[in-house]
Symmetry: C2
Subunit: 768 residues, 2 copies
Amino acid sequence: MKKVLLPLLFALPFLSGAQAPSAEKLIKYVKPIIGTQKMGHTYPGATVPFGMVQLSPDTDTLIYEINGKYNPDIYKYCAGYQYTDKTIVGFSHTHFSGTGHSDLGDFLVMPTTGVLQLNPGTADKPESGYRSAFSHENEVSEAGYYKVKLDDHNILAELTATNRVGFHQYTFPKSEQSHIILDLMAGLYNYENKDVWTFVRVENDTLITGYRQTNGWARTRTVYFAMTFSKPFYQYGSKNYSKKEVYKGFWGRFDQGKNFPEMAGKHLKAYFDFKTEEGEKIKMKFAISSVSTEGALKNLQTEIPHWNFDKTRKESQELWERELNKIAIQADNVEDKQNFYTAMYHAFINPTTFMDVDGSYRGLDQNVHKAEKFTNYTTFSLWDTYRALHPFFNLIQPKRNADMVQSMLAHYDQSVHKMLPVWSHYANENWCMIGYHSVSVIADAVIKGNAGFDANKALDACVMTARHKGFDGIDAYMQMGYVPDDKNSSSVSKTLEYAYDDWCIAQMAKKLNRMEIYEEFIKRSQNYKNVYDASIGFMRPKLSDGSFKKQFDVLQTHGQGFIEGNAWNYSLYVPQYPAEMIEMMGGKKRFVTHLDSLFSMELPDAFFAETEDITRDGIIGNYVHGNEPAHHVAYLYNWADQPWKTQERVRMILKKQYHPASDGLGGNDDCGQMSAWFIFSSLGFYPVAPGSEQYAIGSPSVKSAVLQLENGKTFSIEAQNQSDKNVYVQKILLNGQALNRLFINHSEIMAGGKITFVMGEKPVKKAR
Amino acid sequence: MKKVLLPLLFALPFLSGAQAPSAEKLIKYVKPIIGTQKMGHTYPGATVPFGMVQLSPDTDTLIYEINGKYNPDIYKYCAGYQYTDKTIVGFSHTHFSGTGHSDLGDFLVMPTTGVLQLNPGTADKPESGYRSAFSHENEVSEAGYYKVKLDDHNILAELTATNRVGFHQYTFPKSEQSHIILDLMAGLYNYENKDVWTFVRVENDTLITGYRQTNGWARTRTVYFAMTFSKPFYQYGSKNYSKKEVYKGFWGRFDQGKNFPEMAGKHLKAYFDFKTEEGEKIKMKFAISSVSTEGALKNLQTEIPHWNFDKTRKESQELWERELNKIAIQADNVEDKQNFYTAMYHAFINPTTFMDVDGSYRGLDQNVHKAEKFTNYTTFSLWDTYRALHPFFNLIQPKRNADMVQSMLAHYDQSVHKMLPVWSHYANENWCMIGYHSVSVIADAVIKGNAGFDANKALDACVMTARHKGFDGIDAYMQMGYVPDDKNSSSVSKTLEYAYDDWCIAQMAKKLNRMEIYEEFIKRSQNYKNVYDASIGFMRPKLSDGSFKKQFDVLQTHGQGFIEGNAWNYSLYVPQYPAEMIEMMGGKKRFVTHLDSLFSMELPDAFFAETEDITRDGIIGNYVHGNEPAHHVAYLYNWADQPWKTQERVRMILKKQYHPASDGLGGNDDCGQMSAWFIFSSLGFYPVAPGSEQYAIGSPSVKSAVLQLENGKTFSIEAQNQSDKNVYVQKILLNGQALNRLFINHSEIMAGGKITFVMGEKPVKKAR
């Protein structure tokens, strides 16, 4: 009875869209500021779960190149905001969360007072431009709400958002010269000529529409907008910053600089002038669309048909509250809850909605499509997120994850390359990173019974992608069983990841009884063996002639056949066959030595100079948590009969790599992958091989957790005797029965019930 | 009985879409080559009546500026083709007909053999690039069909078209190196940076889609395309010509130059390689759209679902035949028929269709709209075409003209300036020339009972446009009654044309019983008086202080307050009130002296150096037929009691300004205005003041003509005793009754019937 009643009690309010009845407000534990310093690359502004608009302050918008050379400082500004900066340039409407490359930062808006300045000015001299000094004392960053005082202009700026609309509220001082600047040249990862075309119409004295077309990480990207003010401006203008003025034609007869309602050009800024009373609020709603200005206007009118900022803020925060309530945890201290719920927050930002309120969106083929019966998403950082984020969605957001797969299949349908996404955003494939990990996301959904899409069609798309000879060494890989290092960079990483992806395809094919495909890809999944050099016990780049690369450094990443991980880390990348890998590497004992060394060795300083994306903060020994290739590694001790080491490593990583402060993330959050690792590991299990039903058991750090599943059931986790010292699992009970294995199945969770971990301070050293 | 039977007999085959039964093929009289030399600016290629595609050879595509200075040679290439040129660069898909400024020339295609060359090369050394020598002996230019031998490549090129699709047929020699080049950088009135963005997808080995976005005369213009080959290419490639390569991102890992299916950048060319047998035909269909590549593909598949080139050619030519048959003339010699039917052909090219087969089109607001129950048109060269072309349409193409007005009203609805078109093309207003002559076109349709649109709404649009204070001196004009020359260039021309346009609004308002508007605008229509200087008997620039400009040259145009016409010509521009104007200018006698002098005076050479668009060919005395402002002038003798002078002048102009050869037009055809003048005048009457019911009687040059009216009736014109000497009208009978006036009403023609001119060699000198 109890088992039947419980889910009903919890599920009902959920299904009706309300919050769990007894829960305290969880939103208070969300600190969007976590990760905004150094390499976290998160942003502190306002967005709703999986929202299309990410309205956030930018503290700088640097230029990609200086005198033709890459500007290394730009990397800090992937999300536009660095916590240690002292000035804010403005508030722009689109941001990635946690990426290691960037784009976006569209439509930077800045309210100012005094003499009109259209240049941002410099950080050390904010008065040289429109930017403003600010201090964290005057800054509030919550899920769905951001507030800051702009000291130079004496303006209080508040931001909130719906899915497709950013809502600004600026409290001005008394001023005859109040301005709102729309800088259409500002952007993240900006460079000369990134702006391809800009078009703006001042429809009337409160409404402006237009678009910005850029050539950046997304090669061919256009974002349309509609913005509206709560108060009419009394004058407005624009400036064209093209070095060489484009063709003027017969527009020269107009004074286009002032009060001229149609602006167009390659490099444009616009401004709108007001006279304000002390404390006067000017509000602004700013909607975006991938389709048209008409679409943006419809989004605006549909999502916020009023001027009540507080109402929108409340609704936005209620959306967050509802998502956060999907997992209710108990923890010993507030910091653990802040880490956990901020991880939930960061996990629920990407992928982002990519369609108008009517379902229209621009596809990869640049045509306008309509999403029929699914929500179309973009921002697929798949090399990162296939590992834990999408498996997390299969657990706690299965409907959304199925829609994400639908979005990936739509991408495939629209792809002239006939490929599933690699790293895609805004109707573009940017080809960042390696592998064809869409395959893993799709297989994971299929295997876990979450195929709210045509699974056979999806399998075909996976197969087409994995056989694409033109793509990144696949041709050679198919012929030779590995990517030859003399033909292709990161050859070992690619070989290993292709082999894992191939295994995913095989699992799916097997489930769908497509045995020819199964045979082809199960064979390919063995290719990891082809880059293992038994003589040194490491994966190693192999050349076309079958010999291993001679010059080889197991510590370095660059030029060594790897990417974002050296041979120490990548040699452990056979998630599909941990047991076989351990055997290949000399058996369990030798393998444990490798693992122990990885976590404990001391690295030379030179290592850090040459390794991407990480600092000493993001590393434990030679284990790099700030990058993804080793995210499953701590769990591998389970396969070497030393699960207690998995347990202590996981707890160590949770402690060392996450803390609730601006510098609280040891590496890029990578669209939620780092956060998803945290959530899984905190709950006591982790998907070592997505595409499998199994989660490897770790060591929960929560005292308890209740998962509200979309099927109406609940799954509870209890960690008895939980403490910072009691990291070792003594005993596991699943629904009251002893669980004598080191994994739990997805279906066991989805059936609802309870897992109980009995914790202790001493490892239980017995073989599986 | 006869009067009832006749229209039925003629009308029936028409309504069923077939040709008039007894007519000979009229298409043989069409010589598209007329006007392709010097200033006619027509093109010899293939198009259908009012077709969206104008597929035509370009003999050069020059750059607008050389070292920052305007290149005067570019003017010759407004339509891409100059008859005296010896080489062809390629065949592009969009052309203006007869304009004095340019744009378009989109998607230049060139078939070649031998070593691949992607640059056009120079005219004096065609082997330096892909261009080819050709000779007129190997050239055929017909309505709807064009053929030429490309000597350098030994390829026979044939072109035909449907509304939205160009159909190419290339007969190759045997070659291992046959190419079809798609030059996406070529274009008319080209200049560096005109290409904003180009995007191409090779969908499969016979289908390519994409778009070209330019910043030219149209500031923000995008044309989408879909092209398909009858035979698969065996390889293909592209080249990016950006001086500074745009951001490469992670595309750098691909070899994008060869066999890579997605091309994008600012400056692109593509090529497709074939191996051909002797005499092998490769066909290509090329569709365009303003909406999307999807739209272009739909246009392609709908309009030409086969590979039968001859069938399409036949259908295209049948469309022309049907249009030409709307007026069946008898003339003394073949040249007269060639002149006449080529004028019909040129009159029926513009405005051009601007929507996909499903009615979708891109609007001025850059959004996609759907034309409901009308055909959307673009290419409105209104300063030219309001005079005779649109009145001609009201007579012989009333349905299309009403749709053109609908298109202008849609433009108004989409205009952020809340203005009707001035000079618009391809979802852009280019603001070329002066006045708000949409008003004249709309009034003419309303007054003539051809308002297949909401006339009251149209009137509102006219009023909004005419009151637009931000536009071109209207503010001052409304305050002071004239455009002050110290504030605005071409001040006299603007004042005069505004006054005429205002009269049009008044006429319409009166008919719609909107008397307040009538009063306002009938008053404005008198403003012509404000720029008349009685002391010299000429219109003259007036300054803000009310005084006339001191330095003033009645022969010059530039800087004298006029545009495309000097004081001699423009002083006669009061088409709404000829009698009052004559009175103002000192009475009939003095007026006739002015007119006589105009037609007979000798001009200094310096005049030609400084006057736009005309040579000695386009001028008779100081009467400039090659420009438009004096197009009504020969008819003004009617109001001065000397109609015989109208008769002889009109016949002289018909003879001197038009002949059936490449240099047969004395000035820009201006989207059909020159041709429409020819047609009206040949038939014996002309609309001096569009917006009025009346046509002024001239002297017909045809022996007879039968007009097939859309209302099913016919109107016949007979010129008894017609000859080159017998240019004087002795007597006029309308339906057998003497017509004792110098005008005929539109309604009299539309009622069907017959007008008989009895001609003679002596003028009949009696007062009206």
